[in-house]
Structure formats: C-alpha cells, structure tokens
C-alpha cells in the first residue's frame, strides 16, 4: 500500500506550507522527490496517483511533470545508481573511459540494472561539476575526479554497505 508514514507526512506538510493558499500544486516537484525516496527509488503509477490525491490535482498533471524531469525514475532502479556525466567538459576529461569501465565491471550497459538489483548505470548530461571531471552522481552526493581505482573503491563500499544493512 502506497502511503506516507507519519514522518513522511510531516515532511509533506512542511513542503506544502511554503506556498500560498490554493497553490499547493507548486509543491509537486519536491513531493515527487519525497515520494521517490520513500517508495523504493522510483515512481510507479500508483505512487503518482497517490501524490495527485494528496495535492488534490489530476493524475495526468502528475504524469506530465514526472515524465518531464530526468531525475524521476519511472522504472525500478538498482539500490545504487551511478549517474555518470557525459557532456563536453567531462568528455574532455575522459568520461567515456569511466562509463565503459563501470559497464564492463558490472556487466551492464548504460540504462541497465545488474541482475542482483544492486547497481544501475545511467549516462546523464551536465551536472555542474565540470571542474572536477570526470564525475558521477550517486544518491544525494557527487563522486568527483573519478579514476578506475576510485570507481573500484566506490563499488566495493556499496557492496559492503549493502551487506551490512541486510
């Protein structure tokens, strides 16, 4: 059942309270982030319908927005998502090699998730870290100045964390 718990509802109310009366739709983007974080890292139709109900807007208004922005995942993704930047400045600093290296190491192509559901590899466009290229986003944070060794260490750490949390 898709439903925010009390803590999530509190955050939802905090988000909606920022906007004037009757403009609660404005909270849609942050609320979708909250929903994505709360319900398994992606937005199912059910989740979006739930959000539409909470904000008192039609489901299509939510679908339109969720499909427009690239950060909302409309399919399930791995526990860890590697979003590697591939735009100009990162390309100049060798992001292609990094993407290939991650892909080979995990046995997946960009856009795919490993069979164990642990990792998703995604190529993205400029994330605003051009001076620290090549780089990728992992969850809330950036991993910058990537090298093959650094990628190895990140993958190992993810595996370790996942094992510890199970």
């Amino acid at each position: 059942m898709t439903k925010f718990n009390d803590e999530q509802l509190k955050e939802f109310n905090r988000l909606v309270a920022r906007y004037p009366e009757g403009k609660q739709k404005s909270a849609l983007l942050p609320v979708l982030h909250l929903a994505q974080d709360s319900f398994g890292g992606w937005l199912s139709a059910e989740t979006m319908d739930y959000v539409a109900g909470l904000l008192n807007i039609t489901p299509i208004e939510v679908y339109e927005v969720a499909t427009f922005y690239s950060m909302y995942n409309l399919k399930p993704v791995g526990k860890y998502m590697f979003e590697v930047c591939q735009t100009g400045p990162c390309m100049v600093n060798g992001c292609d090699d990094i993407i290939e290296y991650i892909g080979t190491k995990l046995g997946i192509k960009p856009g795919e998730t490993t069979a164990d559901g642990m990792f998703t590899l995604k190529t993205v466009e400029c994330l605003g870290a051009c001076g620290y290229a090549p780089m990728m986003q992992m969850g809330k944070h950036y991993k910058e100045h990537l090298t093959k060794e650094k990628v190895d260490a990140i993958i190992d750490e993810c595996r370790k964390n996942a094992a510890a949390n199970n």
Partner: protein, 365 residues
C-alpha cells in the same frame, strides 16, 4: 465593457484598424487572403494556445508610432498584440518566408508522410502548409521517430507519429471537459500526447479534440478508413441536442452519413463545440434536419484542388507584387493591371448586348 481604442496596424502594406489587445494574427485575418499567416497551434477559442509551432512568425519592421524601432527577432503573430502604428511584414518579408520554410521542414522531418492512408488527408493543415511552404524533397536521412502505441478507447484514434505537439487537444480537454485525462508526457523530441496509464477518454465533449487537431494525430475511429473526405458531401445539419448546440456538418455520400464534425470557419476553427453523442452516435440522415450544403472555405484539396500542378505552384506571384505596391483589403489581385480586356474606361455592364472586340478597339483610339 468600455470602448477600447482602435489601433492602426499595417500588415504587408495594408492598413487596418483593430481594437487594442488584438494580436497581429487576428488583425491579419481581418485583412484575409495570403496576408493571414498560417497557424498550426493557435486556436482562437482555446485560451493560452499558440506560440509553439512558429509557423505564424512575422517581421515587425516598425514597433509602433511611439517607438518605431523594429523588433530584432521574428515574432509569433498569434501571441503578439498590435501597437498603434505598427508595421508588419508577412509575405513581403524574405526573412519570414525563409523561417517559415524552415519550420515546415522541421515539422516534416519526423512526420511519417503517410497521407495516402491518413484519414486527415485532404483537410490537413500540415498538408496545406507543406504544399505552400515546403520543398519537394527532404534533407532528412535518418529514421523517423516512432512511439509506443496508445489506446484512447473505441472512439478516438491516436497516431502519435503524426502529432506536431500543438497542445490544442490538451487545452480543449482542460477548458471543455471538467477533468483532463490526457496530456503531454516526456520531453523534447520524445514528448508525446498520451494518458500514461492506458485509459479511455470518456468526457462527453472529448470528441472535439479530433476537430481541433491540425493533423491526423487524433482521428474519428467511427470514420476510420471508411472513405476519403473529398468524396464526401459536407452538409450543415442540426438536431435538438440536450447536451450541445446540435449544429454540425454531416459528411455524406448519397444518403449515408459517414461522419459528423463540428462546423468549421474559414480558418478551420470549430464554430460550436459538439458532444460525443452528436459526433459518434447519430449516423442516420433521419437523426438530423438538413440545412444545406456546407461551403468548405479552406484552401484545402476539398474545395479547390490546387495541388493539381506540381508542388509549389500555389505561390501567388502576382499577388506578391500587388501587395508590395500596397493593395486594397480583400483584393488579391488588381484585375486591371493584368488584363488587357478589363480597361476601367469600358463599362461592359452598360452594354445591352454581348461585348464585341470592336468595343475594345474603338475605345483605344
């Protein structure tokens, strides 16, 4: 409402007076003929429509009487309001014609060009536009865009590949029906009209999205592959409808009603929205009171067959010259300037017999 001041605006050397707040496009429509820019996304009855397709771009060569500076960029005439003393160039501007041909090319590169199997053929605005401003060949050598198929129910057929993303159907659903169920999903060149989760469009006025669609993206499933529009006879008819005005156009062949649409004006815009019952369920002549033949006043194949020659023949060259010199509104061509026969000094109507060649020669001396 208080009287609005009238603004003078000159479009392609023709001056009209329109109330303040009128758009350049509507001022040009007042003049009529080729001076009116084509519009693929603007729809006067849909609030917020327009500005997107860029086919109606015009050049503002003089901003206004107060501020005569020209506007640096071409502007969307459907969303730019006139200023007093404004001067606009549409078909007299090479920049405009060049940009417009570019827009047509952009609209066509991913269009399937499946007119032979498209129900919209013959009354398609994109067809008209490309015959008038397009090129015979294409410079696009890549695979055309395709989409996953979406089912909108048993009444409305969606062909996303033909869509030009004018947003008219979205505005229609927003403004005509209480609850919109379809919209524009995704972004950029993958943006599409869809419902996200497969869904029938069910509102009783939703059928109007078919009429507002400028292309064959949304067509009438009850008419699908039944006939070609140019074989059908449009007849105005009405019925006592509890939901809508009941004023429609029937598209008949013999006594058979092939489809029902709303009545459309010369710009292809719906005059009165009609309900789904009138559109989809009343297909017997006996359902209707026939008023008479409907004149289709669009520059489309139905009424003119101006595609008879080779592509591009519609360029009204005489008109361009006449327009350059400044012409009277509504007069596409000054007959006197191109005809040896119709000299102004001969008043043929005053002869009480058929005119003879001597009537002209004698006058020359």
């Amino acid at each position: 409402m208080s009287e609005q001041p009238l603004f003078k605006v000159t479009i392609d050397n023709i001056t009209v007076e329109v109330p303040a707040g009128t758009t350049i496009l509507n001022a040009a429509r007042k003049i009529g003929g080729d001076v009116a820019p084509p519009a693929m996304c603007y729809y006067s009855k849909l609030e917020g429509s327009g500005g997107k397709c860029r086919t109606c771009l015009v050049e503002v060569s003089k901003g206004s009487e107060k501020d005569p500076r020209p506007m640096p960029k071409l502007v969307a005439s459907c969303r730019t309001t006139v200023m007093d003393g404004m001067e606009v160039k549409n078909i007299t501007s090479d920049r405009v014609m060049d940009a417009r041909s570019g827009v047509v090319e952009f609209l066509l590169i991913n269009h399937p060009l499946d007119c032979p199997v498209c129900d919209q053929a013959g009354e398609c605005h994109l067809q008209d536009l490309s015959y008038e401003h397009g090129k015979a060949g294409t410079r696009y050598e890549f695979q055309r865009r395709t989409f996953k198929k979406h089912d909108l129910g048993d009444k409305i057929q969606l062909h996303m590949t033909r869509c030009i993303l004018c947003y008219r159907c979205v505005f229609t659903a927003d403004q005509l029906t209480g609850k919109r169920e379809h919209g524009v999903l995704d972004r950029g060149d993958h943006a599409e009209i869809a419902t996200y989760i497969e869904k029938n469009l069910s509102n009783e006025f939703i059928g109007n999205v078919i009429d507002v669609c400028p292309v064959g993206a949304l067509t009438d499933k009850t008419f699908r592959f039944k006939n070609r529009v140019w074989f059908l006879k449009p007849m105005d008819a009405h019925r006592d409808c509890p939901t809508c005005s009941g004023k429609v156009t029937l598209w008949n062949r013999g006594d058979e009603v092939f489809r029902v649409t709303a009545r459309k004006d010369q710009w292809g815009e719906v005059e009165d929205w009609i309900c789904n019952t009138c559109r989809f369920d009343k297909k017997q002549t006996s359902d209707w009171v026939i008023e008479g033949p409907r004149l289709i006043d669009r520059h489309s194949v139905i009424s003119q067959g101006h595609y008879a020659g080779k592509v591009g023949t519609h360029k009204p060259t005489e008109t361009f010259e006449a327009v350059h010199a400044g012409r009277q509104p509504k007069l596409l061509m000054d007959i006197h300037s191109v005809s040896e026969v119709n000299k102004p000094e001969i008043t043929l109507s005053k002869l009480d017999r058929p005119a003879h060649s001597t009537d002209f020669t004698s006058n020359k001396d």
